[in-house]
């Protein structure tokens, strides 16, 4: 029905306040092969387990952050600003 997302700014809030921004991935340099570019545009890992994702607190602080969510249970294990973990958690 819903679950809580711990916004790094506003604290745990109902998921309905957020916009899901998709899996975290890096934009590859423009020199990569067509296949790699196509993967960046269209291929998603879609893991069953902890996944690093973008979330936007639409009805709150209006900021993008990253969260590690277990896609099997919707438990958000960790949420942080992208600048705080430049290399990310995976």
């Amino acid at each position: 029905m819903s679950f809580l997302v711990p916004c790094p700014h506003c604290g745990p809030r109902d998921v309905y306040e957020f916009r899901y921004g998709g899996e975290f991935q890096r934009r590859p340099p423009p020199t990569v092969s067509d296949q790699e570019w196509a993967d960046y545009l269209y291929a998603r890992r879609n893991v069953a387990g902890p996944a690093k994702e973008w979330w936007y607190h639409r009805q709150g602080c209006r900021r993008w952050f990253l969260a590690v969510r277990d896609t099997r249970t919707n438990a958000v294990l960790e949420a942080f600003w992208p600048e705080d973990k430049p290399e990310g958690a995976g």
Binding site: F3, L4, R27, Y56, W64, F65, N74, W81, P86
Partner: protein, 778 residues
């Protein structure tokens, strides 16, 4: 939370004396229930929610609770489930006849509704509770014609009934219910050791009521949803909780044992454990350990005293042997399904819909397992259980959806439009004037004199910062960095697949300060898009949504300069304030931002002023324009005007496959720039060649086609119309359409199928009106 109006659970429906602990001993069940409820009601620290059904446990122990039309979402840190148990019906021929009841159902009728449910009853049971039901029936004056006990020996409770003259049969049960429209009799039969009926043992008993009272089936769905594990326990002949999640506790009959003393003790322990897990006390460890041992001892004692005989159906034939009364699934249906290969309970459930009705298996879960076990020759435990999913009780969608809130956004000029009698249209949450008088009059005013339209709904973003120019340059296919201060440029924005997301204008107010407008509906997406690409980069760029801070109007038409000149000291001459320039100035004493742009294709000024002065400015403009017969115009006229200029609207004329090259906006894409968002696929699209093109068309005959109508060739669709209007300026129907690139040349004839008829049109690639923009730039 209790789904009943009064506390007390099943105890409320019992007439018999309880042999509970201490002060409760000797009270009737309903009296004991009152006593216990009063204790809870007298405790101010307990908040009660009655007539409130906890219908499901969701992620993170979220509890959905429905109370009437109200929905509560409860996130307990500790959860105690005491949902009790249900009896389940037996499967026998005629078990859907009116007059066949569950024992607990009869007890509810007797105690809660004051109903004497029949004249003569036959009680069919395999549990002690059936004998209590027989007692309650006697107590309200129902004759008990017989009690059929499936277990081989009569329990001690039988003595009192036998003494009252009730026929009691051990090792017997019902074979079928007799009667045409209502129960008229019960055919009882003896069971052999294997559970099969003994031939020749049938005995017909006349009655108008059949009470079926079986081993209680724990209402464990919530426990299962809360990550507990349920399984069949042969000692109890029930599916019971076998493991619970760490923050979940169970007490009472839901654990599989129905006994008042045990329920009270178990409830006490569950409460103390929950409180101690929350750090709210709960007593010393030694006291808890003692209590735990006490509960276990009680449990062991109860289990030792259990005498069960598994009974879900009596083997026989017949078409009216219902397993699932909600979904009308009979034993024969299950047998057929098993024969077809659906011999696993989970597939059988989906194939036959057994347990999938409104009661969600409360009644038929155990019978379904029992029948399947027999049909497949597997044991009850091996047959397994179905998965309990929310909701455990039907929930109206309206309760889940919540109250109907439709937020409306009104512009600062809303009251002025209402006073003018505007016809409204919805654009997202916004209300916009569609029309004030007639499209023709409004279009003519703009083309020949002056008009004004409320464009406050345009998305407005301020993008500021040392790196703002570089960022905007990178996120747009067009150029931004070389834009001079005081100048404006059209902007189209794409994603990295080269698909058009939005368009608008970029005005450079300072070296590090930009005023960016977006489409009415795309503000949120564009703002978030910019923020997303900035997130974590540390770039010195700030994006502020100033949409509702400004009221905005577009003053347009050949006379608009004269009107505006009356309200401002700003030099409006084309040399001082040319097309695609931006100025900050006072208009009517109000600080305003003026953008000289022209969506509608005339000399025009987009004036942005603080929202609180919007109405004041509007009044001044209408007043200043009176001499030139200024007219407010609505969205309908604006759409006609822009179509005469072939200005596209993203999302209306474009879709998720449209790139700007094919949308005839190659001029807004600078592929000679280094990397930018969308570059790679736009480059690829250019190399590949255009697959479709967005062009204008004018009609040679027929009616104006609808938006979405097909462009056809040889009877097959080759494109589609995205916009179409009657142009009062040109005196004919015009529009925009996607067509194959080879047809995208001025003058090519196309056919459009509209309302079942073919209409002829001619491709137009240059704007219909003022193709060189002379009026815009005047």
């Amino acid at each position: 939370m209790d789904d009943q109006p009064l506390l007390g659970g099943a105890l409320r429906t019992r007439l018999g004396r309880v042999d509970g602990p201490g002060g409760l001993a000797g009270l009737a069940g309903w009296e004991a229930a009152r006593r216990l409820a009063a204790e809870v009601e007298g405790e101010p620290r307990i908040q009660r929610l009655q007539t409130a059904t906890a219908f499901g446990v969701y992620e993170g122990l979220l509890l959905g609770v429905m109370q009437g039309r109200r929905l509560y979402r409860v996130r307990p840190r500790q959860l105690i489930v005491a949902t009790g148990a249900f009896e389940h019906p037996l499967v026998f021929q005629g078990n859907d006849l009116p007059g066949v009841f569950l024992g607990t159902g009869l007890q509810r009728l007797i105690t809660l509704d004051g109903v004497r449910p029949g004249r003569a009853a036959v009680v069919v049971t395999n549990a002690d509770h059936g004998w209590a039901v027989a007692q309650d029936l006697l107590a309200v004056g129902v004759e008990v014609a017989a009690v059929a006990e499936a277990r081989p020996e009569l329990p001690p409770a039988a003595e009192a009934l036998a003494a009252a003259g009730v026929k009691c049969f051990a090792g017997a049960t019902i074979h079928d219910a007799r009667g045409r429209r209502h129960v008229e009799g019960a055919l009882l039969v003896r069971l052999d050791a294997g559970g099969d009926p003994v031939a020749g043992s049938e005995r017909l008993i006349a009655c108008d009521l059949i009470a079926v009272s079986t081993t209680p089936e724990p209402a464990g769905a919530l426990l299962a949803q809360a990550d507990g594990r349920l399984g069949y326990d042969p000692a109890l002949d029930a599916v019971v909780p076998q493991a619970l999640a760490s923050s979940v506790h169970a007490a009472g009959a839901v654990t599989g044992l129905s006994d008042l003393g045990f329920a009270l003790l178990g409830g006490r322990l569950a409460g103390l454990e929950a409180a101690s897990a929350l750090g709210l006390g709960g007593g010393e460890a030694s006291r808890m350990a003692t209590l735990r041992a006490e509960v276990e001892a009680h449990r062991a004692r109860l289990r030792r005293g259990l005498r069960v005989r598994q009974l879900t159906s009596v083997p026989s034939v017949g078409r009216k042997r219902f397993v699932c009364l909600c979904e009308d699934v009979t034993e024969k249906d299950l047998a057929d399904a098993v024969r077809e290969g659906f011999d696993h309970l989970e597939t059988l459930k989906r194939y036959t819909t057994v347990t999938m009705g409104p009661c969600q298996g409360k009644m038929c879960h155990l019978p379904a397992i029992g029948v399947t076990a027999r049909l497949t020759g597997r044991g009850m435990a091996e047959t397994g259980t179905t998965t309990a999913r929310p909701p455990v009780q039907p929930v109206p969608l309206g309760v889940l959806a919540g109250p109907h809130h439709e937020p409306v956004r009104r512009t600062p000029l809303h009251a002025r439009h209402a006073a003018l009698g505007a016809t409204w249209m919805d654009m997202g949450a916004w209300k916009r004037p569609l029309l004030y008088t007639s499209v023709e009059a409004e279009v003519r005013a703009v083309r020949e004199a002056v008009g004004v339209i409320d464009v406050s709904t345009l998305g407005k973003l301020e993008v500021v910062g040392r790196e703002a120019a570089a960022f905007l340059e990178w996120i747009h296919p067009g150029r931004v960095a070389d834009l001079a201060v005081g100048r404006i440029r059209y902007r189209v924005m794409c994603d990295d697949a080269g698909i058009i997301l939005d368009d608008g204008t970029t005005a450079r107010l300072g070296e590090d300060r930009f005023f960016v407008t977006t489409g009415t509906g795309s503000l949120e997406a564009v703002g978030q898009w910019l923020e997303w690409w900035l997130a974590g980069t540390g770039r010195c760029v700030h994006v502020a949504d100033v949409t509702s801070a400004y009221a905005a109007v577009n003053l347009a038409g050949p006379k608009c300069r004269e009107v505006l000149a009356r309200l401002t000291d700003l030099d409006l001459s084309p040399g001082a304030f040319p097309y695609m320039a931006v100025r900050e100035a006072l208009v009517g004493g109000v600080p305003a931002l003026l953008l000289r742009i022209g969506f509608v294709g005339e000399l025009g000024y987009e004036i942005h002023a603080p929202a609180e002065y919007g109405a004041w400015l509007w009044d001044l403009l209408l007043d200043a324009g009176r001499e030139h017969v200024i007219r407010p115009f609505g969205v309908e006229a604006q759409r006609v005007l822009r179509l005469e200029k072939l200005h596209l609207i993203p999302g209306h004329d474009t879709d998720a496959l449209s790139n700007p090259l094919e949308a005839d906006m190659a001029w807004a894409v600078k592929l000679d720039k280094p990397d930018f968002i969308g570059r790679r696929l736009l480059e690829a699209a250019r190399a590949r060649g255009l697959r479709q093109r967005l062009v204008g068309f004018e009609l040679l005959d027929g009616v104006v086609p609808g938006e979405g109508d097909a462009v056809v060739a040889d009877g097959r669709p080759i494109g589609r119309v995205t916009s179409s209007k009657w142009s009062p300026t040109l005196g004919r129907g015009i529009g925009m359409a996607w067509i194959p690139p080879e047809l995208a040349q001025e003058g090519v004839e196309i056919r459009i199928r509209s309302a079942g008829r073919l209409t002829r049109g001619r491709v137009v690639v240059r704007p219909f009106y003022d193709p060189d923009g002379a009026r815009l730039k005047s």
